[in-house]
Structures are given as structure tokens and as C-alpha cells.
């Protein structure tokens, strides 16, 4: 079993209208090769679940400029002025979540949890219209779990089964997104032999990963 494919094949599995999870915190840990592969294609109407939508002209920011993104679901879009403009021009919908609630709802989506309760945001503007429940006397907000059609993630090393390890703070949203999509494609710096990754250090076991694309490959 070898899950390695070329980038063009990976991109061909994404369809217009899909909801995509894209790993990374800013550009760190972001699958930049896969994103580049989506540029200048006919893909459109994408919903992107990602902490940010890249930076001006970089990463997911390029897909926003190409008007491929219909909606962004994430926690912090202010750092990319192109996203702010697209939102103001009504070219882009935005669904804003506290970063911890975003992360937890992705984990829940991958873990068969239908929804959960957090205190974060209770009593603030983002809780308007949201369901409140008291648990052990404290107020919590309900949050449904989220899933995507495709997760595009970035890892450091993989073996050909698809076991993954990450590099430093580039780990961020990648391991949880790997669990929460129908199709999971991991862009990796290096593919090593099965057995080279220690069973104790593997962060994402291979059952979560469908395909591997080499960041420096075709």
C-alpha cells in the first residue's frame, strides 16, 4: 500500500462547491503546494475552514483574490486586508468563531461527537441567538461539530502507509483536520520507510490519511 500521488491528481479530487479544511496558522503549517495547485483551475464556490485565509497574495489569500472562495469559516481574518475587502464587497461570507471553539468543533467532527458545550463567548455578541445550557450551575454555549468534504493538511514526514509527524509549531490545526473530512490529503516534506517513524512519536496514525503529496515533488 502506497498512498503517494502527484499534486495534479490530488487537486482533481476537489470539486467546486466543496467544503475544505486547510491546515496552518497563517502560512506556518499550511499546505502551500496543494493551494498553488488549485490556482488557475476552474474550482469555485469553495467553503474554506481554516484559522485564517492566508496573507495578501500568499497561501489561501491567492484563492480569495481569484474569487474561488464563497465562504470562510475561521477565527482571525483581520490580518489579510484582501479578505476584509472581499467581505465588504459581499464577495465573501464569513463565519467567525473563537479559535478554541473552532479547533474543538473540528476535533469533535472527527471524533463522532455531534456537538458540545463551551463557556467561551457566553454573554458576548457572538453568543447572540445561540443556545445556552447550565451545567453544574455554570452557563455554556452549544456548538455543533463540523466536518468537511476534503482536508488539505501539511505534515513534515510520512511513511507510505500515511503515518504522519509534524514540525514544531507547524503542527497547529493539521492533526485535527486530518480526522474530520471525507477525503484527507497530506502534503509532506519527506516520505520515509515504514518503520522509520517510532510508534510512540506518530502524531497522526495512517487510518486518517487517504493520500500523500510531496511538497517538493511533481
Amino acid at each position: 500500500m502506497d498512498k503517494t500521488i502527484v499534486m495534479t491528481k490530488a487537486v482533481s479530487m476537489i470539486k467546486s462547491g466543496d467544503t475544505l479544511m486547510v491546515g496552518g496558522f497563517g502560512l506556518v503549517g499550511c499546505p502551500l503546494k496543494l493551494i498553488k495547485g488549485m490556482e488557475d483551475t476552474s474550482l469555485k464556490d469553495l467553503t474554506i475552514i481554516s484559522n485564517n485565509l492566508g496573507e495578501p497574495g500568499k497561501g489561501l489569500g491567492r484563492l480569495v483574490l481569484q474569487k474561488k472562495v464563497h465562504k470562510g469559516i475561521g477565527s482571525f481574518f483581520t490580518s489579510n486586508p484582501d479578505v476584509v475587502s472581499a467581505y465588504q464587497n459581499k464577495e465573501l461570507d464569513i463565519d467567525l468563531m473563537p479559535q478554541g471553539t473552532l479547533a474543538e468543533s473540528i476535533r469533535a467532527g472527527g471524533a463522532g461527537i455531534g456537538g458540545f458545550y463551551v463557556k467561551t463567548g457566553y454573554g458576548t455578541k457572538i453568543a447572540e441567538g445561540e443556545e445556552v445550557r447550565y451545567i453544574k450551575g455554570e452557563p455554556y454555549l452549544f456548538q455543533e461539530s463540523i466536518r468537511a468534504n476534503v482536508a488539505l493538511i501539511k505534515a513534515h514526514k510520512a511513511d507510505r502507509f500515511g503515518n504522519l509527524i509534524y514540525l514544531k509549531s507547524a503542527r497547529n490545526f493539521n492533526p485535527i483536520m486530518a480526522t474530520a473530512a471525507d477525503l484527507v490529503i497530506a502534503e509532506v516534506d519527506e516520505i520515509v520507510e515504514v518503520g522509520d517513524l517510532s510508534p510512540e512519536e506518530i502524531v497522526t496514525p495512517h487510518l486518517f490519511v487517504d493520500y500523500l503529496v510531496l511538497a517538493g515533488g511533481d
Binding site: 500500500m1 467532527g109 471524533a111 502507509f161 496514525p205 487510518l207
Partner: protein, 215 residues
Amino acid sequence: MNSKEVIAARVAEELKDGDIVNAGIGIPTLVPNFIPADLDVFLHSENGILGVGPTPEDDKIDENIINAGKKPVTVKEGASYFDSASSFAMIRGGHVDVSILGALEVDETGQISNWAVPGKPVLGVGGAMDLLEGSKKIFITITHTTKDGQPKIVKQNKYPLTSLRKADLIITDLAVFKVTDNGLVLSEIFPNSSMQEVKEKTEGAFYIDEKLKST
């Protein structure tokens, strides 16, 4: 092969390259012995292993590598360890392709009971409910009757259900049943048995596969 091995060997035929498989205690533990060597089939153990290998020789036991039945096992190349919450996230989240489970009873709709006996204290549920709820496919392995000859495939379970989720395939020492929306379909009779024996020893209603009728 004894009757348990017949069952295990037949289940193994259903597995495909790349499958993630959780095999419960009892007959299911025998299944890995019958998986062809050229298939990459990965065994998941809910206490936190993906990539369980064969039972070790007595002098090679590592007390820190056990399966969900608390028996010593080994791990294969490419295996990984994880905590219990992550392990059940895999199961509930739909990341396990097949769970192979034993059962006390299966009813004629394919629902199973395998965790509690009425009248006895119920002090164990373990991972069975999670596996039934979350796995993409459920294969049930049972001897066709109990030790005292009572059918295990029944009209209605006497024991409490493990889940409303139905099994996909039931494999006994006599026959194979597919579970469909319309009920059980007998799809295969083993050479050591006959249509008459299967009918006699099965309480629950079942259809007979067209192919089987013509033979």
C-alpha cells in the same frame, strides 16, 4: 480446522487491502491468522494500538503491549500507540472500516446483543457499543447454536441490544447471512452443512439468495 477456525477463515476472505479492522475477543481474535500475507490489513485495538501483530512466544512477551482482551500481543512495522480518547475518536468518528464481533444473539433484522444477560449483574460494557455504533461495517461471528443447541439467530433478542445499528454480515460455523433492509439473506452454506440443517437451527426468519436456490 475446528468450527471456530472455519468461521475465522471465512471472515478473513471479506477483508480488503488497506482495511482498518477491530477484532473483538473470542472467535474474532483468530481472524488475523487467516489474512493473506499479501494484504495490508491493519488491526486496531481500542486500548490504543493501530497495527497489532501476532501473539508473541511466551519468552517474548512485552507486558506493556496488550490488546483490548488484555492478552499479550506484538506490533507490526508502521504501528502507532495513542490514548483511549483518541482511540475511541477513531472508532466513533468512522475511521475503522470493519469490526468483527462476537454475539450472544442476533435477531432477524440483524441487531445484536453481546454485553448483558438479564438477571445477572451487568458490570461490563467495554468498547462493544462504540464499535457497533462507529464502524463502517460490522461482521458478526458466532457458532450457529449455543452449547445446548439453542439457535443464536432468533426472532427477537432475549438479551438487551448492544446498539440499534444492524450488523452487515453474520458468519457462523454453518453458513453466511447478509443483512439487508428487508432482513437476513442466507448467501452461503458451508460444505459441512446443508440447507436443511441451517433451517432447523435458525429461529429467525431469513430469505435465501437466488444463487443458493439454483445450486
